[in-house]
Amino acid sequence: MTIKEALFQYTLRQGDTSLILGHRLSEWCGHGPKLEQDIALINIALDLVGQSRSYLEYAARIEDKNRTEDDLAYHRAEREFKNLLLVEQPNGNWGNTIMRSFYYDVFHYLFLHELVKSKDEQIAAIAQKSLKEVTYHLKHNSDWVIRLGDGTEESHVIMQTAADELWMFTGEMFDMDEVDDILMKEGIAPDLKPLHSKWLQKVKDVFTEATLKVPPEDAWMQSGGKLKGIHSEQMGFILSEMQYLPRAYPDATW
């Protein structure tokens, strides 16, 4: 694998995770429990879709095959998407949505803190811009985990259930392969291993305040989305909705 091929895969992974989580959150539009929270989630969705555009636009440039970021977002098949399985999980209830984002936000925040040091200027610039946005995402979703975890008996149960159900998708965030190895040597990509203990510590801190139990660290973890493009059954439904319009009306503009 060449550096160029690795960089293409790497930008797809970041771009796809942002895109799919952004899409998932956008499904809340008009359905939030309060107008204020509806807008809050959509703001976060827009941040993520914006980040995705930057990554995919760069990926298209690296690939240099005359594709645009829209081609990558709307005309790739399921197996070509390299997002984390975590972010394609269904919205479920408000607790599921918050917990899914929280697990990812903690990782995203730590990851971007490293990525801003990337020797690839474009990637470092995207990371720099994203970091400010993600700092707020993390605060917003941590606050909600604490409020609801340490809320009523009912909200506590909902949050604990969400924490347990999504736990098996958290290990994948730290998976690495040849793509990472090649780019780590170039100083473009950070090592994800040291992030794991930091991630766990932050989750523990917030869960302690939220009176939630951290699921077992040695639990079995599901992976395959980010490295191989093997997705859960949710992914096809997301793509059929997300890609419907540009596939049915390829020339559509707005």
Binding site: K34, Q37, I39, N43, R147
Partner: protein
């Protein structure tokens, strides 16, 4: 008169935004929130999406007291015929610049 609070309704908060340094906070609207921290986040999400502000104040709406609308005439009309209170009877030299 404030209505009795519903058990399931978050209180209302009035939102004030400072649009840039040097200007005062201005009332822009209101949000529902469970407490002041959530109110600030909600205000950020609802009222600063288009770079409207650099600082947010929130005040719980039931802490805002207003004059009695029936006293409008006695409170405000007496000022109407006192135009000499406006600083419009002298010219500001150009050299003074913006004040």
């Amino acid at each position: 008169m404030s209505k009795p609070k519903s058990k399931n309704e978050w209180p209302l908060w009035e939102v004030f935004i400072r649009s840039k340094a040097g200007l005062s906070h201005k009332h822009v609207g209101s949000v529902h929130a469970a407490d002041h921290e959530m109110a600030i986040e909600n205000a950020r999400d609802v009222y600063t999406r288009r770079s409207e502000g650099i600082s947010i104040w929130v005040v719980e709406s039931n802490q805002v007291h207003a004059n009695n609308p029936a006293e409008k005439d006695s409170l405000f009309e007496p000022a109407d015929d006192k135009i000499y209170r406006h600083p419009t009877f002298y010219e500001i030299p150009d050299e003074v610049g913006h004040i």
